[in-house]
């Protein structure tokens, strides 16, 4: 019997409970998803579970449904639904802030929701070639921050988790960006499957006490107007997991015809 994947079933015809729960949250919030979006989300969840990248996640925002109600939902669990400020544009290709006043509050507070900063990651999928601003982050003591193109001094891609950062001179702000801290002395800034920069400087285990936001560095502004088509917050990933994560997200974006 053929069971379409958009119903929340994988190719083998087995329903994925986390995908189905996400669809239910979107519907309850007043959002709607297309058949293609449901299929892409289901495949993403099944793939991440198979390759070991599902468990490290605390929040996944797949940015599907072209509405605040749908894009606010966390795929991983019912925790951390986002709240958007005014000034966002929602489309089937993702969400775009205005770079001035717009951000999304995730409600995820590192000092509360992480036990250590020494294994943590942030990711965003940027579809825009545009300089300036932070795509996801929070400040205060310690720092969680990821920018595809920060445009400050000579820093372009900026990945900071802890009390030091990994910066690079990458000249494109399009693609999948990952700030990945594996240990106290291993922080990487990754674009797609390429490590742009790494830091071996020892960080202190200080977790920010302010909620992580999308499109800004919470606490100091620096807002991004890049279109975001995916974002995640979670524990640190091994190199293999990071590579598999990129592959899964890129397949997800390709299914939705919004890959860059």
């Amino acid at each position: 019997m053929f069971i379409p994947s958009f119903m929340g079933f994988d190719k083998a015809g087995f329903g994925d409970p986390d995908a189905l729960a996400f669809f239910a949250r979107v519907t309850a919030a007043g959002g709607t998803l297309s058949a293609t979006e449901k299929s892409a989300v289901t495949t993403l969840v099944v793939t991440m579970k198979a390759n070991g990248t599902w468990t490290p996640m605390k929040a996944i925002y797949p940015m599907v449904g072209a509405s605040a109600a749908a894009c606010a939902q966390n795929l991983k669990s019912a925790s951390f639904p986002g709240t958007f400020t005014s000034g966002w544009t929602f489309a089937s290709t993702g969400v775009t802030g205005n770079g001035t006043s717009a951000f999304m509050n995730t409600g995820l507070i590192p000092s509360v929701d992480f036990t250590t900063i020494l294994s943590s990651h942030l990711s965003t999928y940027s579809r825009t070639q545009l300089r300036g601003g932070v795509d996801i982050g929070t400040g205060g003591p310690g720092e969680f921050a990821l920018s595809a193109d920060l445009n400050i001094s000579v820093i372009y891609t900026y990945a900071s988790i802890g009390t030091n950062s990994a910066n690079s001179l990458s000249n494109t702000s399009k693609g999948f960006f990952l700030a990945n801290r594996q240990t106290s002395t291993n922080l990487k800034a990754i674009q797609n499957n390429t490590t742009l920069a790494s830091s071996t400087t020892l960080t202190t285990n200080t977790l920010p006490a302010v909620s992580v936001s999308l499109a800004q560095l919470n606490g100091s502004g620096l807002r991004s107007a890049r279109e975001i088509a995916f974002s995640s917050i979670g524990d640190g990933l091994t190199d293999t997991q990071a590579s598999n994560f990129y592959t899964a997200v890129q397949v997800f974006q390709t299914t939705l015809s919004r890959q860059v």
Partner: protein, 75 residues
């Protein structure tokens, strides 16, 4: 050039942080002179157009926003 709605301090107090949908709230920013601005996307405007609680915002004067100096970074 960014064009936004210009708010008095009283109007700012009235709207700042208020939710106009379950997942969206107003966020104002100050310009270089300390004047409050509210930026609404086309979708935001469509959302509040028929909401009597908030559609008065669409009648506010508009003006050019000049950002204050960027904050120091990294913190």
């Amino acid at each position: 050039m960014m064009i936004g709605y210009i708010l008095t301090n009283e109007e700012y107090t009235q709207v700042q942080g208020q939710f106009y949908t379950p997942y969206e709230f107003f966020n104002c920013v100050q310009d270089i002179n300390g004047v409050w601005f509210l930026f609404l996307s086309t979708q935001d405007k469509e959302t509040i157009l028929n909401d009597p609680t908030w559609n008065w915002i669409l009648t506010l004067p508009e003006g050019e926003y000049i950002a204050p100096p960027a904050p120091p970074f990294p913190g």
